[in-house]
Amino acid sequence: MSFLLNCPICGTREVTDFAFGGEIVVRPQSRPGERELNAYNYFRANTDGVQREWWWHRAGCRTWFQAERNTSTNEVLWTAVPEITDATQAPVSPVAEARAAGGEELR
């Protein structure tokens, strides 16, 4: 795996500067059923294609941000810090999007 990522704070860096946080998963809002809890803890979509995911700029500003990346080509479509929700700036952070849709928190 070798590609570049654009840290929203520091700018473009080699992917080896970052720690991968996995695909974005929805944390249940209230006590989940057994099946739902297991799905949340252990199951991932493992998308072959575009997915939203977390990244941590470990060797830099240590900020968590989100990215949309094509897992088969490693093309990064965008990166954004979750709280940056400027309406003019596409795309809107998935966290804000989910909040607007019903206040769900995202993991």
């Binding site: 590609f3 080699e14 803890n41 252990y42 968590w64 709280e83 966290v95």
Partner: protein, 956 residues
């Protein structure tokens, strides 16, 4: 001896002589010589003994395309003598021969073992009896030795570096196509890097009489702003990143667009004894003559399938080699070259080729003949020639490995008789010979086209340069054809070995047997015979082996297909990939002082830590009986602050922390939503909105990451500051700890004023500290956190003040005994990724009745309902026979659990430990069978602390 008069393109500087040793004998050469060219000048013809049969081997390509030229340079094995520059004073040795290159006893395997050593011989033979394999292995490893590795390296004697380079266009290959591409792209304004494996750019131009053009192109490229890297092979293609090895630096070059101008590799012909020293590719003979002014031989025979061999014959004739005969497999070729050969008075044999070479340690002669479709000499056409040089040219194959790694597909092209890479992924532009444009004009134009296109895709230029080059390329005449050579050409009834792969000593017979045994696809036969798997990655063996498989299976060459060489495409030291370690060793600010006190220092994660000070038992005893001190600066330390800090910690820990009073401390366990324990530590409320959180020594980074991750998602009004390295921490513990600190501070230390689990900000010896009364080691103790800048000062003050009480600094090992006496767990040692708080006997710390949910709550609720499956219990054994950690707990003869920690406690006079056991076998007072090695012991289960279970000493 073999040196010619000065040649126009020679790389040697005759005014500068140098000397080095080869197998103990002095060799003199000129600056600019390679190891091989200096040796060749002195008459050396055998450079190595082959891998399996120990046959003598000489120079083939003078380009490092075979393993023939591998030598040992001092402590470095596997050095390519034909490409490595000779250095004054070096000690070069041959690698795979004993006692000498000229006489190798293992040659017996060739002479006598020949028919009995087919592919798979070793696998089949030395498997019986199995127990004897270690013995066989030792002998065989030596027989197939490829040099001697130094067993150890002095500290930092040799290290490698990374360099990252981002550019618009990366051109791989510095031949005419690559240089043209780089110039075209740079002229359009792109930032261009060109990498080339040779000492200077120019590729084939350099030894084909066009060195002036090569040097002019290189100058032009430099003037256009191209960064040219020489002696810099590209090793592979990784998602657009190309690692390039140069000197001791791995350049990770990332470009928006790539031009693959990796050129082509000349192919040998396969015939009996085709491996004799003196059998050379035309590339090898020409390079020796043009670049190093060496006369490759006196009497030469040339066998070729295309123009390349004809050009070589003329060039060799021009430098004074007696060219005895030229055999061109093409029956009806008639062009400028054939005319020039005939007018030079050289015998040109059309439609003929070489069918056998003869000689023992060097070629003495060869047989030329017409051949049938199977490659067998037609009766009556055979002609014998004496020669000491046989130049062969079996066409070329594109050096397409990097493109294939990038995802291009190899398709057989019947026009060029080789596999061309097709459908490269977007962004990669092939140019020159690798794209089938072998002729100079075509190569130059295809380079210009590729360079201009690549630049245009990076938004430089208007595309007119590319269009012009494309039009000119289309207008060129078709290239001169090359005759397809058979898989294997030989005299009828020839017995000599014909080699498909010189590196691995794979013969035509090996391949035939492999296919007969059922390994009948190229992928299988490659792995079985190891053809193309040697150090040269199949550079001069891939096409011959494909032809052989095709002939034996009756499939076409296209249907047979080729295998892809894996990175690295050029051999590099393993250290090239390792690079410089970027995880530095961590040392606390008090580290130097501990070394002065004769601490045994060991690794603990990234930290260097005092393991003990020479007397583990005395150090532990000091804590129990008087006072001890340990540097715990390695603990992860974070300030979690902000208006919502308390709520945040409530969500992260299983217990409640928002109601913690200022100046009070609570122990906490961190878990994930699966309910598993991930870390633990203490939390001290320093002020209304500020908490000092400690983590395990190895968990600091992970916990910071974990906290900030949830904060990014929850967007709470909380900030996390890692102060691990900003603060030192010393744990002063023992019954005399209060008396000791009383000497250094005016602050209230009485049990009433500064009780257990209190955290007070006080001055100790003038240093502002956060002193926390906690008891990991089980005695009255103060964990003192203070600025790292005062690290040694406060350590010294405490040590001095403690002298009258018999203070001892103690290390990690005594601390492990002390904590085990209290049955305190170490996360990661006593727990793993499956452990939850209930099973770890810490159910008391899970507060399921908290208002808000917390990490792991839902999973822990279920674990609580379900009950325990396994449980972590303490055990004791009389005597000091300590079971090793990891020993099995055996129930009814079956392994049912394991020991996670075990130590001998001098204080208790017993061996104690912690172990995971099935929950229904974990009752207090029950017994356990522990098995380790051949030993079996009975232990008694103990719930709670072994020592001071009521915490009287801790709270005193």
């Amino acid at each position: 001896m073999s040196r010619l008069d000065p040649q126009p393109a020679e790389r040697i500087d005759r005014s500068k002589k140098l000397k080095f040793k080869f197998d103990g004998k002095t060799v003199s050469g000129f600056e600019g010589d390679t190891i091989a060219s200096a040796l060749y000048a002195q008459g050396q013809r055998i450079f190595s003994r082959s891998f399996k049969y120990h046959r003598p081997r000489g120079i083939v390509s003078a380009s490092g395309w075979t393993a023939n030229s591998l030598v040992q340079d001092g402590e470095w094995p596997g050095i390519r003598a034909t490409t490595e520059r000779a250095q004054e004073g070096t000690e070069i040795k041959h690698m795979n021969a004993w006692p000498s290159l000229n006489f190798d006893v293992m040659r017996a395997s060739d002479i006598f073992g020949g028919p009995f050593m087919p592919a798979g011989f070793y696998y089949k033979t030395f498997i019986w009896p199995r127990s004897a394999w270690p013995l066989y292995e030792k002998v065989l490893r030596n027989a197939a030795g490829l040099g001697v590795l130094k067993k150890s390296q002095a500290h930092r004697e040799w290290r490698t570096d990374y360099r990252r380079r981002h550019c618009d266009v990366l051109v791989i290959g510095g031949g005419i196509a690559g240089l043209s591409a780089a110039i075209a792209a740079a002229r359009e304004g792109a930032d261009v890097v060109l990498v080339d494996e040779d000492i200077e750019p120019g590729g084939q131009l350099l030894w084909q009489g066009k060195h002036e053009q090569a040097r002019a192109l290189a100058d032009e490229a430099k003037a256009a702003g191209v960064e040219i890297m020489s002696s810099a092979p590209a090793l592979g293609y990784f998602d657009g990143m190309v690692p390039v090895w140069q000197g001791s630096t791995l350049h990770q070059i990332r470009a928006q667009r790539h031009v693959a101008a990796t050129g082509s590799i000349e192919q040998p012909l396969v015939f009996p004894n085709n491996d004799l020293p003196g059998v050379m590719l035309s590339t090898g003979a020409l390079k020796l003559a043009a670049l190093y002014a060496l006369k490759p031989g006196d009497d030469a025979v040339v066998a070729t399938t295309g123009d390349r061999g004809l050009e070589a014959a003329l060039a060799l004739h021009a430098v004074g080699v007696n060219v005895v005969a030229v055999a061109d497999l093409m029956v009806n070729r008639s062009n400028e070259l054939t005319a020039a050969i005939e007018s030079a008075g050289i015998q040109l044999l059309r439609g003929m080729t070489v069918v056998e070479a003869t000689g023992n340690k060097h070629i003495k002669g060869c047989t030329l003949a017409e051949i049938d479709a199977k490659g067998v000499a037609k009766a009556g056409t055979e002609e014998r020639f004496d020669c000491d040089l046989l130049v062969v040219s079996g066409g070329t194959v594109p050096a397409s490995s990097l493109m294939l790694q990038a995802g291009a597909k190899a398709k057989f092209n019947s026009q060029t008789n080789c596999f061309l890479p097709e459908d490269p992924p977007p962004g990669i532009h092939p140019a020159g010979a690798v794209a089938g444009k072998e002729e100079l004009d075509a190569a130059a134009l295809s380079g210009t086209l590729a360079g201009a296109r690549a630049a245009q895709e990076c938004e430089f230029g208007d595309g007119s340069a590319a269009s012009a080059a494309a039009a000119a390329l289309d207008a060129l005449p078709a290239p001169s054809p090359s005759a397809p050579s058979p898989a294997y050409q030989r005299t009828a009834g020839s017995k000599g070995k014909a080699f498909l792969d010189l590196d691995e000593d794979v013969t035509t017979k090996d391949m035939k047997y492999a296919i007969e045994e059922g390994y009948d696809s190229i992928e299988l036969s490659k792995r079985y015979t190891t053809v193309t798997m040697g150090p040269s990655q199949g550079r001069v063996s891939q096409l011959p082996s494909v032809r052989m498989v095709a002939e034996q299976t009756g499939l076409s060459i296209d249907e047979t297909g080729i295998t892809t060489a894996r990175p690295p495409w050029s051999s590099v030291p393993l250290g090239a990939w390792a690079g410089r370690p970027f995880t530095p060793a961590k040392r606390s600010a008090i580290h130097a002082r501990q070394r002065e006190l004769n601490a045994h220092v060991k690794w603990a994660g990234d930290w260097r830590r005092a393991y003990d000070y020479g007397d583990v038992r005395a150090e532990a005893a000091a804590v129990h009986n008087a006072v001890g001190m340990i540097d715990v600066s390695t603990l992860g330390k974070m300030i979690v602050g902000g208006p919502e800090a308390g709520q945040f910690l409530d969500r992260m820990y299983t217990n409640r922390l928002s109601d913690l009073k200022v100046g009070r401390i609570r122990y906490g366990v961190l878990g994930n939503d699966a309910g598993r324990i991930t870390d633990d530590g203490t939390v001290c409320r320093v002020s209304e909105e500020s908490f000092l959180v400690t983590t395990t020594s190895s968990g600091a980074d992970a916990v910071e990451r974990w906290f900030t991750w949830w904060l990014a998602a929850w967007e709470m009004d909380v900030h996390v500051t890692d102060v691990t390295q900003g603060l030192c921490a010393i744990n002063v513990a023992g019954p005399k700890a209060r008396d000791l600190l009383g000497k250094l501070t005016d602050a209230e230390l009485s049990n009433e004023g500064f009780g257990y689990l209190d955290g007070h900000q006080i001055q100790i010896a003038g240093v502002q500290c956060l002193a926390m009364r906690i008891g990991f080691v089980g005695e009255l103790g103060y964990e003192i956190h203070y600025p790292a800048a005062c690290g040694q000062y406060l350590w010294d003050q405490i040590l001095e003040a403690g002298a009258e009480y018999g203070i001892k600094p103690f290390g990690l090992e005594p601390q492990r005994i002390l904590r085990l006496e209290k049955a305190h767990i170490i996360v990661g040692q006593d727990t793993d990724s499956e452990s939850n708080a209930y099973e770890s006997q810490m159910g008391w710390i899970v507060k399921l009745d908290k208002e808000e949910d917390f990490m792991g709550k839902w999973a822990l609720e279920r674990a609580n309902e379900r009950g325990m499956v396994n449980t972590l219990v303490g055990f004791k054994i009389d005597g000091d026979d300590v079971p090793i950690e990891g020993s099995a707990i055996v129930i009814d003869g079956q392994p049912a659990g394991r020991v996670t920690s075990a130590r001998y406690s001098e204080l208790l006079g017993q061996s104690i430990g912690l172990a995971w056991v099935p929950a229904d076998h974990g009752q207090d007072g029950g017994s356990l069978q522990i098995k380790y090695g051949a030993k079996s012991q009975t232990a008694t289960i103990v719930h709670g602390a072994f020592y001071d279970p009521d915490q009287e000493r801790l709270r005193s």
